[in-house]
């Protein structure tokens, strides 16, 4: 059942990133890291579809936080909604990340709003690990302090070199592997599609695995419309792949189950 979610606060986090807190206890109570809510934004005018957002955080008293970037009509309208406005939320939707054991080092590789989508994972991981955060420039780095407070080490890569490593975030992954030759590691990825493909290939070629949160333009959010698909390996299919629904079968997929573009 869709739930009423009252906006408790809706503020600028950094540049075009906003943080909205909904009071929606039924969803908050059930949320696991990596899941998302599908939001019918109030006053959406002639744009009628819901918008999916990863759940950044939940509290026992029913608060659910989403960190979103203003990119188009829906997020622009969302950004204008004052506290007290009631939206309609479906969730928690999708399959969560697997939380590792306490002897595993969680390594989160994130870009864009990926740090928001993995913050709850960091919080709930019994072992504290590393966040590798990629961004175009320092403006796009969000939630780094929050990850540090959650006990994570934060390493940064920016395309323009304005902060941290000058280059791609995937380049930091090799460092982590090198530094921890004996440690059991659990990789998680969340960010732009290209980054996740690079990460997934890197992991699987290195004989490792990981969990990638692959989201795609969504429509129903529950597996009914087949809008949100990505290619996954499927040996039972003559082509070796099939389209899997990220909303229902994902958004979290095992890296070794994903079908990588070059293999086309």
């Amino acid at each position: 059942m869709p739930q009423h979610g009252e906006i408790i606060s809706n503020e600028i986090l950094k540049d075009s990133y906003r943080k909205v807190v909904f009071y929606v206890p039924d969803i908050a109570a059930k949320t696991q890291p990596g899941q998302f809510v599908h939001v019918k934004i109030a006053n959406l005018r002639d744009r009628i579809l819901r918008r999916p957002f990863s759940i950044c955080n939940v509290t026992p008293d029913g608060m659910l936080t989403v960190v979103y970037k203003v990119v188009g009509s829906g997020t622009e309208i969302l950004a204008e909604l004052p506290p007290g406005t009631v939206c309609d939320l479906m969730g928690p939707l999708g399959n969560p990340f697997t939380i590792g054991d306490d002897d595993e080092l969680p390594v989160i590789v994130a870009g864009g709003y990926g740090s928001a989508a993995t913050y709850l994972l960091a919080q709930r991981s019994p072992a504290k690990g590393i966040l590798l955060l990629g961004a175009r420039s320092s403006d796009d780095l969000i939630l780094t302090e929050e990850f540090k407070s959650a006990g994570f080490e934060v390493r940064i890569a920016t395309n323009d070199g304005s902060v941290g490593h000058h280059g791609l975030v995937t380049e930091l992954v090799a460092d982590v592997m090198r530094e921890n030759p004996k440690r059991k590691m659990r990789f998680y990825g969340c960010g732009p599609f290209g980054m996740l493909m690079a990460l997934g290939k890197m992991l699987t070629r290195g004989g490792m695995d990981g969990e990638l949160s692959l989201d795609h333009l969504m429509c129903c959010g529950v597996g009914a419309c087949f809008a949100c698909v990505v290619k996954v390996k499927d040996e039972s299919n003559a082509d070796g792949w099939r389209y899997a629904r990220t909303c229902k079968e994902g958004p979290v997929f095992q890296a070794h189950k994903v079908y990588y573009p070059e293999e086309n």
């Binding site: 002639d46 579809l49 129903c220 529950v222 009914a224 809008a227 698909v229 299919n237 082509d239």
Partner: protein, 306 residues
């Protein structure tokens, strides 16, 4: 007592509200939201003989008061549909009235799918022949916009099954009434309309079509006036029952289609916005009937005053 049951000739429904094919998956996806047997019928996503990948992504784009889609009929194929746990077996257990939407790349494939479903017909109330999907190269709209091909498909399906058949008409034609008459003549027990209207949207920044397939089908409130007009035209042209759809969001929208001539309606895009939409539409029809003192919902059919 308001009576919402409706008689579609070969099938009887507890109320006139169905789900539109392709917008309700195979039912299982929405089973947590409400019991499927509350619906007049569940119309499942299009099924053909073979499993199909469907189209590349992006497959949907939002437009004013509607959306474009070019899913391209991704599906499991008829065998898996009949026997895979989450498909027909699940639906049988749910107690829902099930209508199976079918398609094929050739006239022969339409016939085969119909025959396969006929052979395993338990729990199937009717077949809906989709000759109107604008998003697949072969089959689909090529059949739906050529009256001879359309007739061949309908006759082939008619020959393959004694199940009630519904022909789903394309709005992308000059005269939809002609296609309805052809369907009636070929033994279709009902017609359903409208499928989506072919549309296109371009991202002006990237200059690429917003849908990988270039064009897609327009659905949602944007198309409602076109759909109501077509139902009205078809109602004047044929005697078989009409299932009306296109942008239905509320009970009053459903009533509008019935006044224009529909005996039943289907809710599609609205489900993406609110999964409870079909249930709210049923409640809305009931409220309307109570307000205007209408006892039997069939009194509404074609009752527009022109």
């Amino acid at each position: 007592m308001t009576d919402l049951s409706i008689d579609l000739g070969k099938i009887q429904l507890k109320n006139p509200v169905m789900t539109a094919s392709g917008t309700f998956g195979y039912g299982v996806e929405y089973a947590d939201f409400f019991p499927l047997d509350q619906l007049g019928a569940v119309v499942v996503k299009g099924i053909r003989m073979e499993p199909s990948h469907g189209n590349p992504t992006p497959r949907v784009a939002e437009v004013s008061s509607g959306m474009l889609n070019a899913i391209g009929l991704q599906g499991p194929g008829v065998e898996k549909f009949l026997h895979g746990e989450e498909y027909m077996p699940f639906l049988r257990r749910s107690g829902a009235t099930v209508i199976v939407n079918i398609w094929g790349k050739t006239v022969e494939e339409y016939r085969e799918v119909a025959a396969a479903l006929d052979a395993d017909r338990e729990g199937i109330a009717a077949l809906e022949i989709n000759i109107s999907c604008p998003n697949v190269k072969e089959g689909g709209v090529a059949f739906g916009t050529d009256i001879n091909l359309a007739s061949q498909v309908i006759s082939a399906v008619r020959g393959a099954t004694s199940l009630p058949i519904i022909t789903k008409l394309s709005p992308n034609v000059t005269s939809i009434a002609d296609f309805a008459r052809a369907a009636e003549a070929c033994g279709s027990d009902m017609v359903s309309l409208i499928n989506t209207i072919t549309g296109m949207a371009i991202d002006v920044r990237t200059r690429r079509p917003k849908i990988a397939n270039v064009t897609g089908g327009l659905s949602g409130p944007a198309i409602k006036p076109v759909a109501v007009r077509m139902v009205y035209q078809v109602y004047k042209a044929v005697k078989i029952p009409i299932i009306g759809m296109g942008g239905i969001m509320t009970g009053e929208d459903a009533v509008e289609f019935m006044l224009a001539g529909a005996s039943a309606v289907a809710v599609g895009t609205a489900i993406f916005i609110d999964p409870m939409a079909p249930i709210k539409v049923i409640a809305g029809i009931r409220e309307y009937m109570d307000e205007f003192g209408i006892k039997q919902v069939s009194e509404l059919i074609g009752a527009v005053k022109v």
